[in-house]
Every structure is written in C-alpha cells, then in structure tokens.
C-alpha cells in the first residue's frame, strides 16, 4: 500500500551570511512514522525545524502539505497547518495551570472562558495519552517530562499532524524517557508523523522507523532503520570535509601545568580528570549538552566545582571566584562575546585593560591612560585588530575583531592556562584562520590551552589531545593520532567501545 506523505520538504536551501545552512535538502514525513534526524552540531537540523515551523523562510525549494504547496510564514501558520514542535526545554507559562497551558493557543472561542469545559477537554486529551496529571495544577514546579507532556497535549488539542521533537530526551531520566516513548508510540498509532531529533543513538535506533543523516547542510543518507547500522550512521555524520588541516607545530613541554582529578559539580558534570602541559592544546569535544563549558566555568571559578581537586604547577588550589582563578594564571575567553565578554559602549583600550587595571596605576593611584593606550596599541598590531584607533567603541567592530579584543583582554592577564570557549563561532573564515594561527603561537610560547569547540574538524586540527565529553561525563581522551572524526563522534554519542577500539588500535599499531 502506498501512503502519501503528510509533509514534504523539496530541495530546500537556506543561507545565513556566508554559511550555507541547508543545501538542497529533501525530506518526506509519512503519517504514523517516526522519522529520526541525525547530525553533528551545525549540520542543519535546527534550520530545517525552523523552516518547518515558520521561524525562517527557505531561500529556495518547496514545502508541500498533503501534496499541495504551502507557505509557512509564521509559527501561527505552522500551528494552523498542524505542525508543532516540542523542545528540550518546554516553553511554559509557569503561573497558568496545566489546562490553561494546553489551550493557550486557542483563539476565537469567544471572549469568555468556559472553565468546566476546558478542564474536561484537557483531561480527555491527557487520558488519550494515558497520562495522569492534575489539570488544575500550575505549570510551575512540573518536571521537564511533565512539561513536555503538556506541550504534546497542547499540540494534540490543535489537531497536530506533524510533531517535531527536538532533543526531547536530553533532560529526562531513563524512566521518563520510557514514558515519553510510550506516548510517541501512541501518537504514531494515531497516524501522527513524528520528526525525532536526538544525540542518543540507542534511543534513535529504539524508536525510529526511518533514519536520516545530515552533514554540512546536506542530506547524506536516509533509510529504514532495519537497513542502517550504528557504525554506518556515525560514519555518515562524521566524514566532514576538512578543507585544510592546520599544520600545528609540536610545542608540548614536559612540565605538567594543570592537573585535574575527578572534578565535578552537582547537576552539571562529574568524574572529569585530565592534565595539560605547558605548550599543549587540549581539545574538548562533545555534542550540545555535553557540559564542556561547565568544566571551563568551574576552572575559572564562575560556577565552582564542588568535587575533585585542581593542581596548578604542583600546588593544589581552590578556585571559587574569577579573581582567584586569575591569580593562579587562568584566563577564560567566553563564547558569548556580547553577553559575557565585552562592554560594547567602552573603547577597545578600556576593554583590554579591564581585568588588569591595577597594573596601570601611577604612584598617585591614578590610571595612566597613555600606558593603557600603548598596551592596546600593541595588541592591535600583534593580533591585527582592524579598527581606526584603540579608542573606538568595541560595539562598532565586526565579530572577528571583537573576538580579537576578547583574546587581547585575557592575554593581557598573562595567563599560564588559557581556556578558549568556542573561539571561532560566528566569525568569518579569514578571522578564523588568524585565531588558529594565534592558538599555535600561544602554545609555542608555552601557554597551556584548553580549546572547547563544537567544530569537530577544528578541535581535531588544533589539539594535541582531545577530551570527549557526553552529558556531563568524560568519555575518554584521544591523542592527536587516535582522534579521528569517527572515533571522537562515536565517543560523543555514547558508544563507549569506540574509546576501547581506539586504545586497542594504538597498542596494536
């Protein structure tokens, strides 16, 4: 029997600036089918979802609903067409109760609320999902799993035909995942088409009827689950083209600068152990939600660790705030330049000297502005910051140049350990190459570097060793030779044996 697809995406392309997020992707969603979508960070999954739900418009391509071309101009239109999405962190109105949250999107039911009817209908929908939940309870205090159930009920109340689930299990316990999957199977039996996105391969292979892999904005493979193996899926996700492998110099020295043992923070990560030597670049790889940034924040004292030890140059230290971290020679360049890193209305010079102002005091306790400007000028030359002068506001610079100001600011603290969190996210190719060159130079000067990056080819190209994390746990550390895209990705997706395989391969070789 030939079933017609509910939703068909035909040859969809979308570009953001210089990034081709989607390139000619075609996808069909059938009623009563769970369609899993796999792909590394930045493979184009999110862009596709946003196009399906009307957040973005495709540059080219067609969207067909029941075989008829449609235009999805807004989330409201997507809702009206029966397309809904639930996310890892559901969007609730915490002060409204469960029933109100379910029916919040319903317009045109008259100006008055028929409370009795609303509660009855809400209960009916939850019963249909076989879920016990008090519809009069406020959403505040519901577990993430319960909130997702409310979101699903909301979608059902709107006669959903296509349900997109974006990493719905990331914040759930094993038991809750089981309950969610029971609901998913019930929806499937009712003929809903489900697009399921997850980084947990075992779940994907448990629930999906069809598995599609994206990479670099393209569809690489799409096949019924029975025809796909885990290894094959990982290989399809990995094979990212590496245009140019950065020729790192070998600069690792013998001196172990930082040693971390069994580091952990309640609710974020645990059991993280590694060491970094002077002149070494230790990459941190992992997928979204791997909690790599939390390890960086713990080392820098923003969200201090509550477990484990940190030893710097042979001395065990306690780091509970950024000042202490800076005193121990740690610098952290955050991924969020605008939010956490720079003061946009202030000048380049003022931003660079901010953490080290005391160094610029004259005997009277006043700032020596000429010296500040000289420092800034030096960094402007060294890092090739493109700005007419160092007194220009940072807010006026391009992303790449802002990134360089950030780096200058922290290099000026003369760190021994430099933590770089996504240093090249959102900057153009040229600036990216410059940042890579800088990382190599800094390592050559003997600085120990922790490089957190979601760009897998970048981590592999820049790191002497790669630490892989997954959901707050350390999955293994690979040397530069062991670290292939397949192995790192397999570890990041929880295939522990991949780590063993790598070890084995090396001891054999």
């Amino acid at each position: 029997m030939q079933v017609a697809p509910v939703l068909e995406m035909r040859d969809i392309s979308r570009r953001f600036g210089s990034t081709q997020a989607l390139a000619g992707v075609s996808l069909r969603l059938y009623p009563g089918e769970v369609h899993a979508l796999l792909g590394e960070n930045g493979a184009g999954k999110s862009t596709l979802i946003k196009i399906m739900t009307g957040v973005h418009q495709p540059d080219s391509g067609q969207i067909l609903l029941d075989g008829r071309p449609v235009r999805i101009g807004s989330t409201l239109e997507a809702q009206r067409l029966g397309i809904a999405a639930i996310y890892q962190e559901p969007l609730m109105y915490p002060d409204l109760n469960v029933a109100e949250n379910i029916f919040i999107a319903h317009a045109g039911r008259g100006p008055l609320v028929d409370w009795g009817k609303m509660y009855r209908e809400a209960e009916a929908i939850l019963n249909q999902l076989d879920v016990r939940l008090d519809v009069r309870q406020p959403a505040r205090g519901l577990s993430v799993a319960a909130q997702q159930t409310v979101e699903i009920a909301k979608a059902l109340s709107l006669q959903v035909r296509v349900l997109i689930m974006d990493e719905p299990t990331a914040a759930l316990s094993a038991h809750e995942v089981e309950q969610l999957f029971a609901i998913v199977r019930r929806l499937r039996a009712q003929g809903v088409a489900i697009l399921f996105i997850s980084h947990r391969l075992e779940e994907v292979f448990d629930i999906a009827d069809r598995i599609t892999v994206f990479r670099d904005g393209r569809l690489i493979s799409s096949a019924p689950r029975a025809d796909v193996t885990v290894e094959q899926a990982i290989r399809d996700m990995a094979g990212r083209s590496v245009e140019q492998l950065f020729p790192r110099r070998h600069t690792v020295r013998d001196e172990v600068l930082v040693q971390v043992r069994d580091l952990g923070r309640q609710g974020a990560f645990h059991g993280v152990s590694f060491e970094v030597r002077a002149g070494e670049v230790l990459g941190f790889a992992g997928l979204v939600g791997a909690r790599r940034t939390d390890v960086g924040l713990a080392l820098f004292g923003i969200a201090p660790a509550d477990h484990g030890t940190i030893t710097i140059a042979g001395q065990t230290v306690r780091i509970t705030n950024p000042r202490q971290a800076m005193r121990h020679g740690i610098a952290y360049v955050s991924e969020d330049r605008r939010g956490l890193g720079l003061s946009l209305p202030m000048s380049i010079a003022a931003n660079i000297t901010l953490p080290t102002l005391r160094r610029y005091l004259n005997p009277l306790g006043l700032l020596r502005r000429q010296t500040e400007l000289a420092t800034a000028e030096e960094f402007r030359r060294r890092l090739a910051i493109r700005a007419p002068s160092v007194e220009v506001e940072v807010g006026k610079l391009s992303g790449g140049n802002q990134q360089k100001v950030m780096l200058s600011k922290w290099l000026n603290t003369r760190p021994r350990l430099l933590i770089l969190d996504e240093p090249t996210r959102g900057i153009d190719v040229g600036a990216k190459a410059e940042v890579h060159q800088m990382i190599d130079d800094l390592a050559a000067e003997g600085i120990a570097i922790i490089l957190i990056s979601s760009d897998l080819p970048e981590v592999l190209a820049m790191s002497d060793r790669v630490l892989v994390m997954r959901e707050g746990r350390q999955m293994g550390i690979f040397t530069r030779h062991e670290a292939t895209q397949e192995r790192v990705l397999a570890a990041a997706m929880g295939q522990r044996d991949a780590v063993e395989t790598a070890r084995w391969a090396v001891s054999e070789g």
Binding site: I302, G339, S343, P345, L354, L367, R386, S389
Partner: protein
Amino acid sequence: MHTWRQRIRPEQIRELSLIGLIVIALLIFGWQIENFLSARTFNRITSSVAIVGMVAIGQTLVVLTRNIDLSVGSIVGFTAYFVGSQLAANPGLPPVAAIVLAVLTGGALGLVNGLIVAYGRVPAIITTLGTLAIYRMLLINYANARTITVDSLPSWVVELSRQTLFAIGDFAVRPLFAITIAAMVVFQFVLAYTVFGRRLYAIGSNPEAARFAGLPAQRTVLAAFVLCGMLAGMAGFLFLARFGNITAVAGQGIELESVAAVVVGGVNTFGGSGTVLGALLGAFLIDLLGQGLLRWLGISEFWRDALLGLLILLAVASDSVILGWLRRVWAAPALRAEVSNER
C-alpha cells in the same frame, strides 16, 4: 592622519551640543526678554544649579551602574533640616564640622540604599522609592511641624549664598556654585582616571562581563550609592545655606530634577556611558529653559514640572535617535578606514 572626527567622540558631541543649545537659548531669551542677560538671572540660575547639579553628580554615578536613586530629594531635605537644627542648637559649630556632618548624614542614608540594592538584590527603583518615603517620614517626625528659620542660623551659613567669591564683569560667582563646580571637576577626574570610575562604566554597560573580569560588582554599586548619598548630603547643606528657612517638605522633587539633568546630560539610563560634566550642563539647560519660559511666556510654576517631564522624554528619545545617527555618521569614515587598512 588625525581628523577632527577621530579626535572627538560621539559622547563629547553630546556635551558640545548641550553647550550649543544653552547658547541658543541664551540668545533667544536675551533677544526676547528685557533684561534677561543680567547678573540677577545668572545668580538665580547658578544658585539653583548649585543644588540640583550637586545631586546630579551623585545621580550620574548611580545611573552609570544601571541603577537609579529616587531618594535623593528626601536625603537633601533630611540633611538640610538635620544640619540646620544642629547649627541652631550649637551656633559655635565650625563650618567644616557642619559640612562633614551633612556629608556623613547623607552617606549613611545612601549606605542603606546601597546595601539593600547591592546585597539584598532589590531593584534600585523599588528600594529608593521605598526610602524616598521613609526618609521623608523620618524628617517629618524629627521636624515635628517646626521650621528652621534664617534667624536661628549662624550668619556665616546665610552669607554663603550672598558672598561673591569672584566676579566676571557683573556676573558674580557665589561660593555655593563654586563648591558644585569643584565637585564636578573632582568627579569628572574620578570617572576618567581611577579604577573605581572605570569599574562604574564596566559594571553598568555589561554586568556579566564585569563578573567574568573579576570586578567586585557589589562593592562598587554600594560605593556608588554611598557617594550619591554623600553628594546629596552636601547638596542638603547648600540647600540650607541658600534658603535658610527649612520645613519638612524641603528638597521635594529634586529626585525628578536630578534624573532629568542626568538624562538630558546624556548619561545612558542603561548604564555605561555619560559624564558628570554632561549632567551639570543638563541641569543648567533645564534651569535656563525653566527661568526663560517662565518670564517669556509667563507660564506658571506648575508648568515647570511638565517641562521637566517633556525634556526627559525628549532627551531619551533623541538619545536613541540622534546618537544612533551620529554614530553612523562617525562610523562611516571609520569603516572606510578599516577597509583601506585591510588592503
């Protein structure tokens, strides 16, 4: 090559344009109103700006950190009355002691604000709205419906508002105004050349980045409120010296005038940019417009408040529009320079 565009930053343009507006207003009023450009007008405006300007300097420090202090009017009133009554009771109190007493009293009230905002994490607008009422209540209780009169004060206090420190032609500069100008110079310097000043800007423009840079945000915000209280206390002393007769409603409305001066003076209400010089020029412009329109159009005193409100709205609206436009004009050659650098 240094062009004038590179030498002058948009923020300085704001101050220059305020001076320009003041000059234009002076010319128009001087042309339209008989005897407007007189020593009397100058004296009236400078005496008033001395008080509001002093408060506006403190308000600037607080607004730079993305906070606001609405209790300054009550602090001015409380200090004026408190110091006045002490002077009436002990006429032998030396001038320096009286001033120190005023500054400390204001500082203590500011400390309460600062502790609640910085460590209690209560939004500044709520905190100081509360203390606005509480400090006023303290004053009403303390005053108990009595009034401090000029006659009860030592003569040196009252003389402060009448003496001439020095004169330029007919225009006499009174000690009160000179004190405020001196405070402005000091704090302009503090903002530009001290670690504390730089931290105020940093914390206001991006609190999170300040935290990442290891700046002591809570202590700095506390210090801003304490200084604001001390300056308001000083303003309370100036208020006492200027008016001599002090009742329980003294200083009411100064919070609005100081916020207006700060905003018109170009201090960003989202923190991070602005100067005390700008705030003082803002206070000057507002008072000039008030005096001028009062006499030119014969508007009533009540219009003054409406005028303040209008100026605040105009300043904030023009801030985003005009400053945005100025920045684009400035950025254009800068960008061209950037492009040519890259070649």
